[in-house]
């Protein structure tokens, strides 16, 4: 089931990036990113290691602050809003992290129910029903009393998706959903994403470097390289692209690793402590 047969009748723009620049300290990682994400589409952000795609995803969910530029979500520029307003937007989005990021001290059910318990005044019995529903949706029915440490990698990812779905988000973000999974389990996660697309017509943004998954789930793809958008288009357009960087990525052409001397020297002599973001 490829992703590009969908007839996008709604032309609402869910998310819009305008000239986005993101830096870590003095180093600029993203140099002016521009693209839109339409309602109901699945956009895959492709890129190699160090391309900036993870930074891009983190910025979209508000974990990093842009140094300049705008990110419009539902009419609000999240690069310039108060934390309280950002929290309201976060209640409308869901994110599935690379390792699942389930809270180890709680059961799977408690993990999934956490957003509901925090942000709603629903009765406990209702929350029980809802968490079972979410677990059912991701194929983990009956696992609500398991601890995360008792789950396999694929199951952890599914539980993470269930948690991300708890508040019925409008946009769902995935960070490397297939990372560390064997091909069969990874295919299962792809099918899950396709099912979410089909059933809820959710807007889904996936960051990955797994081409097979990307081609399967994407409506459109955007290739990020060295902090810039190299190409953006539907899956078909990308497959047929003649741009050298795109072909190199899609055809898996190896490139010699050259560490810039300055970076290497910095690594050797500097001891950088990450700031304590509280």
């Amino acid at each position: 089931m490829s992703g590009d047969g969908e007839n996008l009748t709604q032309s609402d723009v869910m998310l819009s990036l305008r000239d986005l620049h993101v830096s870590y300290g003095d180093r600029e990682i993203l140099h002016g990113i521009n693209f839109d994400v339409m309602r109901g589409e699945t956009l895959v952000i492709l890129g190699g290691s160090g391309s900036g795609k993870s930074t891009l995803l983190r910025t979209l969910v508000g974990l990093e602050k842009p140094s300049s530029g705008q990110i419009w979500i539902k009419g609000q520029n999240i690069a310039a809003i108060s934390p309280a307003e950002m929290d309201e937007i976060r209640k409308r989005i869901g994110m599935s992290f690379q390792g699942g990021a389930l809270f180890g001290s709680m059961t799977v059910g408690e993990n999934v129910a956490l957003p509901l318990r925090e942000h709603t005044k629903l009765e406990e019995s209702t929350i029980e029903i809802m968490l079972r529903l979410k677990l059912e949706q991701v194929g983990l029915a009956g696992f609500e009393y398991y601890m995360p440490s008792q789950l396999s990698g694929g199951m952890k990812k599914r539980a993470a998706v269930a948690r991300a779905l708890a508040m019925d988000p409008e946009i769902l973000f995935f960070d490397e959903p297939s990372a560390g999974l064997d091909p069969i389990i990874a295919a299962g996660i792809d099918q899950l994403i396709l099912e979410l697309k089909r059933a809820f017509r959710m807007t889904i943004i996936v960051v990955t470097h797994e081409l097979a998954s990307a081609f399967l789930i994407a409506d459109r793809m955007v290739l990020i390289d060295k902090g810039k958008v190299v190409a953006i288009g539907t899956t078909e357009e990308m497959k047929k692209s003649t741009q050298p960087r795109v072909r190199q990525f899609l055809d898996r052409i190896a490139e010699p690793e050259v560490a810039r001397e300055l970076d290497y020297l910095q690594m050797l002599t500097e001891e950088r402590r990450p700031s304590g973001r509280v």
């Binding site: 983190r58 969910v61 508000g62 974990l63 950002m86 929290d87 309201e88 976060r90 209640k91 989005i93 869901g94 994110m95 992290f97 690379q98 390792g99 990021a101 389930l102 809270f103 180890g104 956490l114 957003p115 925090e118 942000h119 948690r163 402590r273 990450p274 700031s275 304590g276 973001r277 509280v278």
Partner: protein
Amino acid sequence: MAFVAQIGESVTNGLAYLGSLATLGVRASYYTFIGPFRGKPLRMQRAISQAMDVGVRALPILSLITFFIGLILALQSAYELRKFGAVDLVATAVAISMTRELGPLITAIVVIGRSGSAFAAEIGTMKVTEEIDALETMAISPVHFLVTPKFLAMIIMLPCLTIWANTMGILGGSLFGVLQADFTIKRYVLASIDSLFLRDITTGLIKSVMFGITITAVGCFEGLSTGAGAEQVGRSTTRAVVVSIFLVVVVDLVFTALFFFISGG
């Protein structure tokens, strides 16, 4: 000149660190004392389970340690006092030393070793596995969710533990008193209580609350600022313990001096 620059940099880094700790402390206090009235209820379940870990589970080791400290204090005091034929005063010496100083301080150190490190390790591991990020993306404040229950537990448990420590210390001293100084337990304990003014106990308890705040702030801050990788969690935990011990002693000095000058010193 480079040496001076280094000192300057260390001082500014140190002040920045204290500033970050203070920020964390203020935010934790907000969620503890003001938040509940503004629609952000306290998680009593979590606070209680933290209090069990911090307080109740520390009792065995704390009892042993402070009992021995009391005994050591008695031995050391008696060593000097007997030169003046004043071994009778050993009860006084132990009681005042424990309640004013050693009770709060030793309790703080035990708690740093048990809980300060645990806070840093727990939160640091969560940082490394992106659980802190997950909380933020779910619009849940990590300070409200993780730090506040610990904060509440510590400011309640530390004074309680200190009272217990004082008692065990006096009992430890009584062992010496009974065996070597012709006391009965009853007479020793009464002598101890007689020698204490209320302010001896209260100054100690105020210090213990301040220690609790310090230990929580440092442990949680180090956890939250952990870098990437398991090795960094180890570093954060070690730093949390060392910095906590140092800052607890500094806070001790500040408040001891404060109480000295307040009481007309």
